[in-house]
Symmetry: C2
Subunit: 335 residues, 2 copies
């Protein structure tokens, strides 16, 4: 796939991210599984988003898809779709609910989380992604009583979230859950050159040169190097845990995102590893953790902390019914 | 002043609130004072906002004005203007900066805080208050690098803030500072009937019947009962401290705001007193405290707390350069 057609073209690396949890209202979900959904069904759903599957790997608990624009993960109860560029992710929601109802045995949307950073060039997006207000309107056509937030500065770097804000444990046993996202911009161009066809001989070569293979040693990796540049990797960890990295290396719009749902009581060292690997000029970190998560206890240490040679510009904490969320923005200190 | 012309008319009680701190870049502000500004200068400034002064009182440290739409407070370095209805508060900013420069000896805006809750009927507002985006644009025409935030739900109850987010102690000695605001809606109609010409024989009568005179015993009060309904009170406390309450009693748009800059290490009991006095269906509380304030230590106890017969719907904490801010929304628990 030629999503990055030219070094000088603009590419919107900023992803739209959708996470949907399903359940049964009677709690009896033993025979329910989102992985009953067929490849053909996913392909038809992704047509609405304007992207395609380019690679697939699975473990006992998790199906992982690398897409022409970012990634998709499917486990028993949880669907995650992350797409960049000018894809129309929210067009997938109504077909998703229909396919899940017809195929999986689940009969209820337990919670959804739709989030993204502010776009670099919002005027290049397609409906309903033309503004967060338009995205809210689209979601309010599907869900009732959703809550929409803007973390950070409305008039600068910020991060939008729409969630149903469901109480913990509605319909069925609650499970520990956490998501860390690190969104890096203004990256080091020597590092970025690794993620081009000129800079690396293969996707695996880029993975090894950059050190991405050392972040979670033992992870099952599925990586892709785009032509002429751009890189994605899905990492399947034990259980239903994953990590994923997406890289837009072009100098005028460089963007790297890291995301994982792997539980840790403190993400400080992990984030530090990412910063040393990619050398961003600025980065946003967001951390969700529900009350059962080990990450909830260490939230303060993970986000309300110092990172060497970075200044914290923003810190916001938001308490939801089931989750605590921390948003922080850091920028390189003047040297 | 007949701002509440009829019980059945809609009135936007939701205030716009502006707080501006001034300083001298050389730190030598001994001879500087905002209270050098004359009554005539204030009156001309308020013409831009479309409101007028209806009463004035002063103490050694504070000048207090009751306005046709809400209140104004002036101390040595700090200017506070709060106006409701369809007033155009932000039109005062440019004239204010001019008058201060010409009259007071101050030569620098240390910080500004412009805030408001979401309007009940935004379509009735005049430019630049037609949306928060329009307000930001107006402020960005005057200030550089201001930060704009939305606390709470963008698509429901929320509270907007624009601030310069200045580091503590830039130009001159920093002073302890804190502001508590409690914005109450859907109020008890028996209580609200006190704040009408039918329900009380005078402004003082309304103050005493409601118990407002007992909130800060010993405060110098300046109260006003509008015709046919509506009530404002400014309370001058010791030092440069004040409290102010504004009441729109009409059943379909009832609104009561309380604000004070008086330092307390814990505002829980004060808020509880207000809740028992006014019996709101829902309320927002916001608390700013800088690092020198006693209120910073008790922030958690003030906001992240329970109030009898209310459920907390939202809690957000925001760390600025000089201030910590907590935003919380509470709603009456179903009985």
């Amino acid at each position: 796939m030629d999503v990055h057609s030219n070094y000088s073209d603009f590419f919107e690396g900023t992803e739209k991210l959708l996470e949907v949890w399903f359940c049964r209202t009677d709690g009896k979900d033993d025979n329910c599984d989102l992985r009953k959904i067929s490849r053909e069904q996913w392909e038809s759903l992704l047509q609405e988003v304007k992207c395609v599957i380019i690679s697939f790997k699975r473990s006992e608990h998790l199906d992982s898809y690398v897409l022409s624009e970012s990634s998709m993960f499917v486990s028993k109860r949880c669907f995650i779709l992350k797409t960049c560029g000018s894809t129309t992710l929210l067009n997938a929601v109504t077909p998703l609910l229909y396919i899940v109802k017809m195929t999986t045995g689940f009969n209820f949307v337990q919670d959804i989380f739709y989030s993204r950073k502010n776009f670099m060039r919002p005027e290049l997006q397609n409906k309903p992604h033309t503004s967060f207000e338009d995205e809210i309107e689209s979601l309010e056509g599907i869900f009732e009583d959703g809550a929409a937030y803007c973390m950070g500065r409305i008039n600068s770097d910020c991060w939008y979230l729409y969630t149903l804000n469901t109480p913990l444990g509605l319909h069925g046993n609650p499970v520990a859950d956490q998501t860390l996202e690190v969104i890096m911009q203004d990256l080091d161009q020597n590092v970025m050159s690794i993620f081009t066809q000129e800079g690396s001989s293969s996707a695996r070569d880029a993975t090894q040169k950059s050190g991405i293979d050392q972040i979670y040693p033992g992870a099952m990796l599925d990586e892709y190097l785009f032509d002429p540049c751009g890189y994605s990797v899905n990492g399947i960890l034990k259980g239903r845990y994953y990590f994923t990295i997406h890289i837009t290396p072009e100098p005028h719009c460089s963007y790297v995102s890291f995301e994982t749902n792997a539980p840790q009581d403190n993400y400080h060292d992990l984030v530090n590893t990412l910063l040393k690997m990619f050398l961003p000029g600025k980065f946003v970190m967001t951390l969700f953790a529900n009350k059962l998560s080990v990450a909830a206890k260490g939230m303060k240490e993970s986000c309300n902390t110092e990172f060497h040679s970075y200044n914290r510009k923003e810190l916001q904490v938001c308490r939801f019914n089931a989750y605590d969320l921390t948003y922080a923005l850091f920028a390189k200190a003047p040297s």
